[in-house]
């Protein structure tokens, strides 16, 4: 059965920041230079081809865009202006929006207004929560200090409520992400597929998911290992923070000031340093625009970096102010921190750039499953 | 007796003769037994020439022309090839060893190949020994 070429798809794709893919004349250099492209999972060229021809179904069932870590070698060696790396990046945005059933992802990616509005909305809600709701529930900000001379954080941000909120937020995000991943799974493994994958393979290869999440071994195959390192620092910092904040909040958000070598502080410092280092590389890269991968920045890229930076810096500020007994500053930075963090988690993780933290390892997993697929 | 074979070679002017010259300008070394006759085109080489060379005592006859498709006169070398094939069949019937008649294509840049060819052919002729054609024919004539 032949598939219909759909030139109209261009109008959709173009909203995700995709440049002029028609410049590609199919020399094959990009696929050849890419260390991650392999038998059965050829990219970027083949994906560019699908875009050029508007083969929507084939595009949406592609796992390859997630296998790309954007080292930029393809764009560097591209003899035309096709910029394959950026096209893959854009394609990930498109796919993210496709996995998302709420439709919000597409809105966020294609409309800056929508994205900013939601960020501001969530931020406003956070501010209202701290200034109006929590006080009304009896949690007031106090200038009193703890015995150690630290700020009493729990007074205005009661740990149990914040924890409930964290868990709720994590639940929402997880629900969205998992449902999206299921859709991703459906697109990649099931939909219109002529092959099937046995349950045993699913189980056997599951370790890949964890392994890839933790280490990103694929990324390390890119020729320039520095990117992998900075990304891994960022990722690990972020993950530690996320786990600590959501799962171990009571242990983390304490009023007691532990010694510097205490695991709580060490973990926090490590996470912060990792985050800041990774962010620094990204920000400087995007500003200097020397490396190919940083040459084209979509609004969503900038927003993500900025918000993460703000989250990290406000987090640091909370810490500094808290242990130095500066209640007002702590209060303000805490609210600011939450006003950045919450929209970031709620928007970036399920709907936007941050979702790749789930899609990538799953994509590796799915790709592995596809290798063991047998005809139906 | 120390056998010194004589090989008469017919070379076309444009490719083979130039190639033989190149062997010289490139100072390649080959056996001194060859005597080259220049013709404009290998298509000029008449079986009469070949047979006469044998009759006169040549131990071998070598024909060289341009590679197929390269003929300066378009197709002369093909005609040479066809005649060569026919005359080869004839001399076989006449009891002349096939090693004694050889056709090779030599281009103007194949000086080395020419030198090698001469050496190979000389070696082959040394192996088959002196030609008996002339001596056979010499005893044949009764007149004088």
């Amino acid at each position: 059965m032949s598939v219909r070429v759909q030139p109209e798809l261009r109008n959709q794709l173009i909203q995700f920041g995709i440049g002029d893919w028609n410049a590609c004349y199919h020399c094959g250099t990009c696929t050849a230079i890419c260390p991650l492209s392999e038998e059965g999972f050829l990219f970027p060229r083949k994906k560019i081809r699908l875009m050029q021809m508007g083969l929507k179904d084939q595009l949406e069932s592609s796992v390859e865009p997630w296998l790309c870590y954007y080292c930029g070698d393809c764009s560097k060696t591209c003899p035309r202006d096709a910029n394959p790396g950026e096209l893959m990046m854009s394609l990930r945005r498109y796919l993210t929006s496709k996995y998302d059933w709420t439709g919000l992802s597409k809105k966020f990616y294609t409309s800056e207004v929508w994205e900013l509005a939601f960020i501001l909305l969530f931020a406003a809600l956070v501010v209202i929560a701290f200034l109006v709701i929590l006080p009304s529930m009896g949690y007031h900000f106090t200038k009193e200090l703890t015995a150690d001379g630290g700020v009493k954080v729990n007074s205005f941000a009661p740990i149990h409520i914040v924890e409930i909120f964290d868990w709720t937020m994590a639940g929402v995000v997880a629900t969205l992400l998992i449902s999206n991943i299921l859709r991703m799974y459906y697109q990649i493994i099931w939909k219109k597929s002529k092959t099937k994958v046995s349950l045993w393979v699913h189980i056997r290869e599951f370790w890949l998911l964890i392994f890839n999440f933790a280490v990103q071994p694929k990324f390390s195959k890119c020729d320039d290992k520095r990117y992998w390192l900075s990304h891994w620092l960022l990722m690990s910092g972020y993950t530690i923070m996320f786990i600590v904040i959501v799962v171990y909040l009571p242990w983390f958000q304490t009023e007691k000031i532990y010694p510097v070598w205490h695991p709580q502080r060490l973990l926090g410092y490590y996470a912060t340093i990792g985050l800041l280092f990774g962010l620094g590389v990204a920000i400087i890269g995007r500003l200097v625009r020397k490396d190919v991968k940083f040459q084209f920045s979509h609004v969503s890229d900038w927003l993500f970096v900025i918000m993460l930076t703000l989250t990290a810096t406000t987090g640091i500020l909370i810490h500094v102010f808290r242990i130095n007994g500066m209640p007002v500053a702590t209060f303000i930075s805490y609210i600011a921190h939450m006003a950045v963090l919450v929209p970031m988690i709620l928007i970036e993780v399920p709907f936007s750039k941050w979702s790749h933290l789930a899609y990538r390892p799953f994509a590796v997993y799915f790709a592995q499953l596809k290798k063991y697929a047998v005809p139906k | 007796m120390n056998f010194r074979p004589t090989i008469v070679a017919f070379l076309c002017n444009w490719c083979a003769y130039t190639g033989a010259d190149l062997a010289g300008t490139s100072r390649m070394r080959y056996a001194p037994n060859i005597r080259i006759i220049r013709v404009m085109c290998s298509g000029r080489i008449d079986p009469t020439f070949i047979l006469t060379a044998f009759q006169q005592g040549a131990d071998g006859v070598l024909i060289c022309g341009c590679h197929p498709g390269d003929c300066h006169y378009q197709t002369g070398n093909y005609k040479c090839l066809r005649r060569f094939k026919l005359i080869s069949k004839y001399i076989a019937q006449m009891g002349i060893e096939p090693e004694r008649l050889k056709l090779e294509w030599i281009s103007a840049s194949e000086g080395k190949q020419f030198a090698e060819l001469v050496n190979e052919m000389t070696k082959a002729i040394l192996n088959v020994g002196p030609s008996k054609i002339k001596s056979t024919l010499e005893v044949k004539h009764l007149k004088s």
């Binding site: - | 130039t18 300008t25 103007a108």
Partner: protein, 600 residues
């Protein structure tokens, strides 16, 4: 009758996304004096679409539309469509195409004015802009003695006119002399070229000047004064008998230019055995005497008294000529600029020119394909004693069709690569041969048939260019995408041949400066008119031929060589030559336009 039809001028100034450098303000001010011009519109004025242009035609009552700009053809169809909708004659959409007449720079404004004026008055520019004639000196200078220069020289000399054939190197023959076989007929380059070289040498009307460079060209068309630097050979061409005794005795070595550096030659040498003139020359850079003041082994060995003079100096000579043909040729792309392919790092990554020598029966290995190896002194050379490769890969488009290097297509690489594949299998029937290509450009007579033939010979022809060459276990590792089979191919081969593209030769820029002829994109010499005068230039009496105008294969080069000669012979027969187009004053063109439009 002068043109009175209501004409609208549309200035289309973007060219490839940027604005072209023509001063359209000045242009529009200039053409106001033409009564036919009703309105002028700029590209920025309003979006050029159907409705807007239709509206302008209606509101201004336009009967004729002139689109003026560097490449106005790009929007022509829109205007034709609008005219058709309006029920008007779409042929009345006229192009004033500046690019066509070499108008690229701000300084070309006068020519732009005249082109536009011609369009307005409906007079062909070629007929309005007729430069004055000057008397012509029948001698001709040809710069470059490759096949284009040789061809042009023979053509002109055969008309009984004197030709100075000036060549920078020590022999004529150019690049073609280094080739083994020529595609697609596979006839040997030497077989067909050397007779022409000999003909040049023996022609009574050709004065051959090797080791010469052009320093300055002064004077007017028809009477150029050319200053030439005659680099000394240090060997007397008149008395040298070409015996080669000197070379035997010479102790100094240098990489052979003719063999593309794949073998060593002596400091006193003959570029190649069939060189014309077949005389020795000394390379000052490697000569021990010239460097250290001691040696003279060649002088002692030379059987001809006073033939070698190591202390001879360069000279300057001056020639008077009427016409000049530039046939300065090309150089190949420097593969070291693409480090990913490992040229210069891995000894068995070769450029096509090196491989051409390796294949050549008169090359360093006598036509055997062998590995590059080091000689006793450590020079990397090809020697016939080395091992033979069992697998070879040919990678197309090295340095061509690539915005990072050269955007243009080099036109010959596909075919010579196919030829390589064939010759490899011819010499190494067991070898595996891979070709990596993007588009197979086998466009010429018999080329497609050749391509089909190679496909049947068992060469792996893979659509998909490779990205890099790496070394692994002593083999060269190549990774590529086989686009048609949707596969990644990782081949490990013994030898890689890079089909390097063509670039204007080192001297092109300098010559363009000396001759005052412009360069096109990519640095090639610019022709007078892309279609109708591919071998002329905007300068009177100066013609270009062969690859200095753009990459081309041998038959196209030869045709251009002859074509350039045609104009020279014509000039000589007429006894006159046109001045540069630039020399015609604008008023004169205007008068001529007036005259021509009045006749109609």
């Amino acid at each position: 009758m002068r043109m009175t039809e209501a004409t609208g001028i549309f200035f289309y100034n973007p060219i490839n996304g940027i604005q072209d450098p023509i001063d359209y303000g000045e242009l529009s001010a200039y053409i106001k004096k033409y009564p036919a011009v009703k309105n002028m519109f700029y590209y920025d004025d309003f979006p050029w679409n159907e409705e807007n242009i239709l509206a302008k035609i209606r509101s201004c009552g336009l009967e004729r539309l002139i689109i003026a700009g560097s490449k106005p053809g790009i929007v022509k169809t829109l205007f034709a469509k609008v005219m058709a909708i309006e029920g008007k004659d779409p042929d009345k959409v006229i192009l004033a195409s500046f690019n066509e007449y070499g108008i690229r720079r701000k300084t070309d404004i006068n020519r732009a004015k005249s082109v536009l004026a011609c369009a307005i008055e409906g007079v062909p520019f070629e007929m309005a802009a007729m430069p004055d004639d000057l008397p012509v000196n029948p001698a001709t200078l040809i710069i470059g003695a490759g096949i284009a220069g040789i061809q042009a020289a023979i053509e002109i000399a055969n008309s009984n006119n004197l030709v100075y054939l000036v060549e920078k190197s020590g022999t004529i023959g150019g690049k073609m002399a280094t080739f083994d076989k020529t595609f697609p007929t596979l006839d040997c380059a030497a077989c067909i070229l050397t007779p022409k070289m000999v003909e040049v040498n023996q022609h009574t009307h050709i004065k051959l000047m090797t080791c010469c460079e052009i320093l300055e060209v002064a004077g007017d068309p028809g009477n150029f004064n050319v200053r030439i630097l005659k680099r000394t050979r240090r060997v007397n061409v008149a008395t040298c008998i070409g015996c080669g005794t000197c070379t035997e005795k010479c102790p100094a070595q240098a990489p052979s230019e003719f063999d593309a550096g794949t073998t060593m030659r002596k400091a006193i040498y003959i570029p190649f055995p069939q060189a014309v003139p077949n005389k020795y020359m000394i390379d000052a850079e490697s000569c021990i005497y010239i460097k250290n003041g001691k040696c003279k082994a060649c002088v002692k060995a030379c059987p001809v008294p006073d033939c070698i003079n190591l202390d001879e100096q360069d000279q300057e000579v001056t020639l008077q000529v009427g016409n000049i043909i530039v046939a300065a040729g090309y150089k190949v792309f420097d593969a070291k600029r693409m480090p990913q392919y490992g040229y210069g790092v891995f000894p068995n990554v070769l450029t096509s020119l090196e491989f051409e020598r390796l294949l050549n029966a008169s090359g360093p290995t006598g036509g055997n394909i062998t590995f590059r190896s080091q000689d006793k002194k450590g020079n990397w050379i090809f020697s016939p004693d080395s091992e033979k490769p069992e697998s070879l890969a040919i990678i197309h488009c090295i340095g061509s069709r690539d915005k990072n290097y050269n955007k243009f297509c080099s036109r010959v690489c596909c075919m010579y690569s196919l030829k390589f594949a064939h010759l490899i299998l011819d010499k190494l029937p067991e070898a595996r041969v891979y070709e990596y290509f993007i588009d197979m450009r086998s466009f010429g007579k018999g080329y497609e048939e050749f391509y089909e033939r190679i496909k049947e010979e068992g060469v792996s022809i893979i659509r998909g260019k490779t990205a890099k060459v790496e070394e692994k276990n002593g083999k060269l590792q190549i990774r590529g995408e086989d686009i048609l089979l949707s596969k990644i191919i990782e081949n490990s081969v013994d030898m890689v041949i890079l089909s390097v593209g063509l670039e204007p030769s080192e001297d092109t820029e300098n010559l363009c400066r000396i001759l005052k002829i412009p360069q096109s994109e990519g640095g090639w010499m610019e022709e007078a008119n892309y279609n109708t005068d591919p071998t002329g230039t905007i300068k009177g009496g100066i013609m270009i031929a062969g690859t200095c105008q753009g990459p081309k294969d041998i038959p196209d080069t030869v045709a251009q060589g002859s074509a350039a000669a045609a104009r020279v012979i014509r000039n000589i027969l007429n006894g006159k030559v046109s001045k540069d187009i630039d020399t015609i004053p604008l008023e004169k063109i205007e008068n001529r336009i007036h005259e021509l439009s009045s006749i109609k």
